[in-house]
Subunit: 394 residues, 2 copies
């Protein structure tokens, strides 16, 4: 186990009707709020009205900025920063999923940054202060509701990049599983794929002696795999929705990576896909992760045997072959398929070959490698994109 520091001070408020407390929670931190949201589905469901009512009842003044898209854009972030300055905003309330929260986090950082906030994404600037923010979560997926990071797409060059800082965790996160009843199946499935990927990025490590966190990761993966299909079967299954919503938070609150080196190559490889094709992030991950596994598993076979056994119940081989490892990867693919997710590029209607371009972009033109389990250069990444397109018989 490596030395580590863990601190996650977000107040997680979970369960039925908790969003009705939003005004009360917000009033503890701010008096002029930027209400940030997406395409307007919160207006259709009535959530918007309930939030406004709660803010008003608690005498919280607000301005609003909607329109956050999937793969949230820098241009809207800039608009938000401007609004914060003009309106003396002292708190940001994100109502939505990971895209809205990431956009809100970046506005919160940018409003206190002297310069272009994109600097902080490319190592030209650093985060020293931010406006505090709170969250009402509507899509369990990204784990951004208690995480310390955000991912934004810069339309100039369609660069999708992350930033992180301990300060960036929301001060509160209100999670009502009932708010997720109306999510389309595909979006639910993409969320499940994302939280599973967050756990796998932490699980696949070469750090020795990480028994407890291994088991905590396995617990989270098993629960996601158990509950995911239930949610698709009955979208109003409160119990299953609650498990999935909580799993999304646990998968990304950093409790699963205490003392472990993490990977994140698959996320970076996926970011190029969804950056270029505007594919849903979770759908990109269900294509990239199995391909990554096939490419890297030989680096640490026991870890993949353990994954197959403890997560999918596939007994280890005792003949020295890789059969159980392959079965484990196929079991993961089968899970994705059962959730209606793509596992090859063609399933997502991506048929052109921009592999080399994406591999170059992912490595910033061969100036960095991706991941830690096996550090990958642009040639490795090119091979992984090829595996994303290969026959399903693999």
């Amino acid at each position: 186990m490596n030395n580590f520091v863990f601190k996650n001070s977000t107040e997680l408020v979970f369960g039925k009707a908790v969003e009705e407390q939003v005004g009360e929670y917000t009033a503890e931190y701010g008096s002029k709020v930027l209400l940030h949201y997406g395409g307007g589905s919160i207006k259709k469901t009535g959530l918007y009205d309930r939030i406004i009512k709660s803010l008003q009842e608690n005498k919280v003044d607000y301005v609003e900025l909607g329109g956050v898209q999937a793969n949230p854009r820098l241009s809207l972030v800039q608009e938000g920063i401007k609004l914060c300055h003009e309106e003396n905003v002292d708190f940001i309330l994100a109502v939505g999923g990971g895209s809205v929260i990431d956009s809100a986090k970046t506005i919160a950082v940018g409003a206190k940054y002297d310069g272009n906030v994109w600097d902080c994404f490319i190592g030209k600037g650093s985060i020293t202060d931010m406006i505090p923010l709170g969250v009402v979560l509507t899509i369990p997926a990204a784990g951004s509701e208690t995480s310390d990071s955000a991912v934004i797409t810069n339309e100039e060059g369609w660069l999708k990049r992350p930033i992180g800082h301990p300060m960036m965790r929301p001060v509160f996160a209100l999670l009502n599983p009932e708010l997720t009843y109306t999510l389309p199946d595909y979006q639910t499935a993409c969320g499940v794929s994302d939280m599973l990927a967050h756990t796998m990025e932490r699980y696949f490590t070469n750090t020795p002696n990480v028994d407890l966190t291994d088991r905590l990761c396995e617990a989270t993966m098993r629960s996601i795999i158990e509950q995911g299909p239930k949610v698709l079967e009955n979208p109003k299954d409160y119990a299953a929705r609650a498990e999935i919503m909580l799993a999304g938070t646990v998968a990304h609150n950093n409790s699963l990576d205490m003392g472990r080196e993490t990977d994140w190559a698959s996320h970076d490889i996926e970011h190029e896909l969804s950056g270029i094709y505007d594919l849903a992030h979770g759908a990109g991950l269900s294509i990239v992760f199995p391909a990554w596994m096939k490419y890297v598993y030989k680096v640490n076979k026991p870890r993949f045997e353990q994954f197959a056994y403890r997560v999918f119940g596939i007994e280890p081989q005792f003949d020295g072959s890789d059969a159980s490892i392959i079965k484990g990867i196929k079991a993961l693919e089968n899970f994705y398929v059962s959730m209606g997710l793509p596992i090859r590029l063609e399933d997502a209607d991506i048929r052109d070959d921009r592999y080399e371009e994406m591999a170059k972009k992912a490595t910033n033109n061969d100036t960095r490698t991706l991941g830690h389990f096996k550090p990958l250069d642009s040639k490795d990444i090119h091979e992984i994109y090829k595996l994303c397109a290969m026959s399903k018989k693999w």
Copy 2:
């Protein structure tokens, strides 16, 4: 899953040599510190000197109060409160195990409470403020290093009682597994028993639909059971010491009980034992917990079957009998025995029968029941004490 609020803002700093940062961390919060510790083992090991050096290097002034015993006493707490007032202490640094931390927490609360702090233990007063405190942990067991509660023994009547408040979590906790190398085997084993009990108090619930937290509890129990014997075998096994130390924190940081009703009857029943006989808490728990299980399992057999299967790998019976449940409880007893812990009162040289007296005290003279899995009155508790004395053939 029940509605819940989870917030644990303690900064957990974990790994080799982290105690050397204590001055730096302390200086962030206070300038006049009460250094609180136990019987002086920290002086023998040199830890005391390293801490003083770090405080001095960071220009932190301090007063000290040692002498905390196992089952920490109210009289020393009162002394600490007096010292805080006299010396204008603005931060408390606890260096030790759960007893020292609980004593420090109670001093921290008492110093800001107008009246006798014992009021807060018996419902006559409530906690509204406290001096912040930090921890250097030397015994992995109680989980008090990030928990929001404390247990103190009042010598008047030898009443052992808990208090809790969200505010009571330490602001930082420095955990170096190397500091636990010198713990005697018995103390190590008692710590392992305590953290296992903390997980079981959360695990045995009748709250339905708690799949993820069930699995997280099981992960923690399996890791404790896997790593505990390794630590006894080789006390300087850093990897195993680290797993046990981290498990002690995870077991009691409230992440394992999100959305679940918890029990705590076994703890309360044990408190009467260790309150009267001054038995180590962990040793009392290894006697009480199996007895409690035998008395209550019929309330929810599937939960005990799941425990046997998922924690100890004992396959469920398919004949309607309780055989796998019994095997599970016996497997737990065998684990305790392998750690050198008592599983019956006679193993701890307790041969007199004060069961009725203890049962009455535990229920505050029949004015409350204990636990939630099966609420227990004094007659039930009397029966459980009898089971603590019964033949090992059970």
